[in-house]
């Protein structure tokens, strides 16, 4: 199986309080922020690697994973990390965040999918910066492929399909999607028994979480192919559909109050908060 994984570099969500908005309110000031791969995209990569190997013999690849990101030169660090973790080749589409929106990324990805011809596209359900949650869905529509979003489990099936489990209210919905398809993943996809290729025994359990890149693999990643593509090559029309009118920080939270006993708490919940 050949899988395309879309990876986005985002400002470290642990330092979200460092995000600043200048007085003009026309943008988010990203200077001084630390960057990380979008966690959901890291889960997507882990899922893709599991689908292209026998879990018992992870060093032998049994498929191909191509990672792609949209970003400036520095985002190649994110791609190298993905290559060190196990991806087979990487593509960087040269662009900056302000030149992109979900629609344009999906249209450019469509062209890349037509070039690379993967059996499956896997990506995070959303990026933790904009939280738009659009690209996977738009891409499936543009390609006219089936989609399964918020995947918690993926099982490859012999008949050219994947069985995707989605956690919904009251249980798990299973969707059988014929390949080629687009799958976006949720947090639980990295649990020990979430993803199985046809080669991995169902009794096998992965370590929970995203695998570590071994130090020799980090060195070897330098030799794996990483190509750069211009955004204009992939999308003739690079006009954005989403325009931002104004950025504004959420209002600062007011300090809470301390109550002296349970009676006062109940009183306030009844009379002030009116929740009891």
């Amino acid at each position: 199986m050949k899988i395309l994984v879309a990876l986005k570099r985002v400002a470290d969500p642990d330092n979200a309080n460092k995000v600043k908005i200048p007085g003009s309110g026309d943008r988010v000031d990203t200077t001084g922020l630390e960057w990380k791969p979008n966690p959901f995209d890291e889960y997507a990569l882990e899922a893709a690697l599991r689908l292209t190997e026998n879990g018992q013999q992870p060093k032998t690849r049994a498929g191909e994973v191509v990672v792609v990101t949209f970003g400036p030169k520095e985002t190649e660090t994110t791609l190298r990390a993905a290559l060190a973790t196990g991806a087979d080749k990487a593509i960087r589409v040269d662009a900056t965040d302000d030149q992109l929106d979900g629609d344009l990324v999906a249209r450019a990805l469509k062209t890349l999918v037509e070039r690379e011809k993967p059996d499956l596209v896997v990506m995070g359900k959303q990026a933790v910066d904009g939280d738009s949650n659009q690209v996977g869905q738009i891409l499936a529509e543009l390609l006219d492929w089936p989609q399964a979003t918020f995947a918690a489990t993926i099982e490859e099936e012999a008949a050219g399909s994947v069985l995707v489990g989605r956690e919904v209210d009251g249980g798990v919905a299973k969707l059988r999607v014929k390949l080629p398809a687009v799958v976006t993943v949720d947090l639980r996809i990295v649990a020990g028994a979430s993803v199985y290729s046809t080669k991995t025994a169902r009794t096998f359990k992965y370590n929970e979480g995203v695998r570590f890149a071994a130090l020799p693999a980090i060195m070897a990643a330098k030799k794996k192919p990483l190509t750069e593509v211009k955004l204009a090559e992939l999308a003739a029309d690079t006009k954005l559909k989403v325009t931002y009118a104004k950025f504004q920080a959420p209002p600062a939270r007011k300090a809470g109050i301390k109550v002296k006993d349970v009676a006062e708490l109940v009183d306030k919940l009844q009379k002030e908060a009116k929740v009891l």
């Binding site: 460092k18 001084g32 190649e76 660090t77 190298r80 990390a81 060190a84 979480g209 570590f212 890149a213 071994a214 130090l215 020799p216 693999a217 980090i218 060195m219 990643a221 330098k222």
Partner: protein
């Protein structure tokens, strides 16, 4: 209040690292954070070694990481140093295990062993299936290893070893020990290295209990009572004290990075604490006495890191002189211990609880200060280097 700037951002050390080195650092950092830190205090408290992590350390390539071939990762000196620094951010005991396996057990075989010895032992050691230790120090011969009493006498095709080694990291869990013994009557030039294997009759490794430092790393003795070691287990390519000392030079280089990891863990912990802990109506971070201490820690961390990187870059070009490694080990371990002690005092009562990593690192660093050349021995090495006069 202005936005605080992290120490890493302040000294911008990232600009001195390659993409690959940053990735090594980030990987080992995540490994330690996810796999070791949640258990660090408990392992220390219970005097337990995380032997279940050995396969994962091996899988990451952290055993014998600076060696080439035989299944070793072949990391550059700086990458190797950064990896050890992250391991020691977890615990000096964890880093000690990696240092001993790579620099003290695997290195002498890799450097001075026969091809057959390398083929036989190194791949298994890199995989963590064979654990090694290093038998040099004796109850009465620490800083003066030339005074060792352990002897090897030729008997037919075997060597017969007798003696006792002490303070041996990993000896209780080891499958093999690189033991240094005199083959003559007392001359240090007759020192040779022997690979003593678990199961050889007369080879015992009793655990030393009651340590208040490096509790997460097993330390023991090596007792040798008429141990018959076949000729092919002697390291053929080295004679004299230079053998064990060259291994120590490798290990000490790693320690000069490693100790900074322990110090950084203390700094991170105390900085977060100082911002939270309010006394006399203000966080202690807003007190001049506290800021002075935090700034001292930050300066020493910055200087130590820059020095370690400098010698790491130099080592990429050529072997370091032992005195250069002494300079770096003495300085960085000394300041790390000072940082840990200061952090301990800033945490006040909380500083003695294992809930914070500080007391654990502080106690661990007491060992790191003393082992691999005591602070005093490094002073004498440097004193001799600068003056030409031996003051040993």
């Amino acid at each position: 209040m202005a936005d605080p700037v992290s120490l890493d951002a302040l000294i911008s050390i990232d600009h001195l690292l390659s993409e690959e080195e940053k990735l090594v650092q980030a990987t080992v950092r995540r490994f330690v954070k996810e796999r070791y830190l949640p258990r660090a205090a408990e392992l220390f408290a219970k005097e337990q070694f995380a032997s279940d992590l050995i396969p994962e350390l091996a899988e990451l390539g952290l055993l014998g990481a600076s060696l080439t071939g035989y299944g070793c990762a072949g990391m550059s000196p700086v990458s190797y140093g950064l990896a050890l620094e992250e391991l020691e951010y977890g615990d000096s005991g964890l880093r000690s295990f990696a240092s001993v396996q790579g620099s003290l057990a695997m290195y002498p075989i890799w450097k001075y062993g026969s091809e057959a010895q390398k083929q036989r032992f190194l791949p298994g050691m890199a995989k963590g299936e064979l654990i090694g230790c290093f038998g040099l120090t004796e109850p009465d011969a620490g800083s003066d290893p030339g005074a060792m009493k352990t002897r090897a006498k030729k008997d037919g095709k075997d060597w017969v070893l007798n003696g006792a080694k002490m303070w041996i990291t990993s000896s209780p869990v080891s499958h093999l020990a690189v033991v240094w013994a005199k083959t003559g009557d007392g001359d240090a030039r007759s020192i040779r290295g022997f690979i003593v294997e678990r199961g050889m009759k007369g080879f015992e490794t009793p655990t030393m209990h009651g340590k208040m430092s490096l509790r997460a790393s097993p330390t023991g003795e090596i007792v040798l009572s008429d141990v018959r070691v076949p000729e092919q287990n002697m390291l053929p390519e080295i004679e004299g004290l230079r053998g064990p000392l060259s291994c120590l030079t490798q290990a000490r280089f790693g320690i000069s990075f490693g100790a900074l990891g322990a110090a950084r863990a203390c700094f991170d912990s105390v900085l977060a604490y100082a911002k939270d802990r309010v006394i006399f109506g203000k966080p202690i971070a807003a007190k001049q006495l506290v800021q002075q201490k935090l700034v001292m820690m930050a300066m020493e961390l910055a200087k130590g890191k820059i020095m370690a990187l400098h010698f790491g870059r130099l080592k990429e070009q050529r072997d370091l002189l032992p005195a250069q490694v002494s300079l770096c080990k003495k300085n960085n371990v000394g300041v790390a211990l000072e940082i840990a002690r200061t952090a301990r005092s800033l945490l006040a009562g909380n500083g003695i609880l294992l809930e914070y990593p500080v007391i654990r690192h502080m106690l661990n660093l007491e060992s790191v200060f003393t082992y691999e050349g005591t602070d005093e021995v490094h002073t004498l090495i440097l004193g001799q280097t600068l003056t030409g006069e031996s003051a040993f």
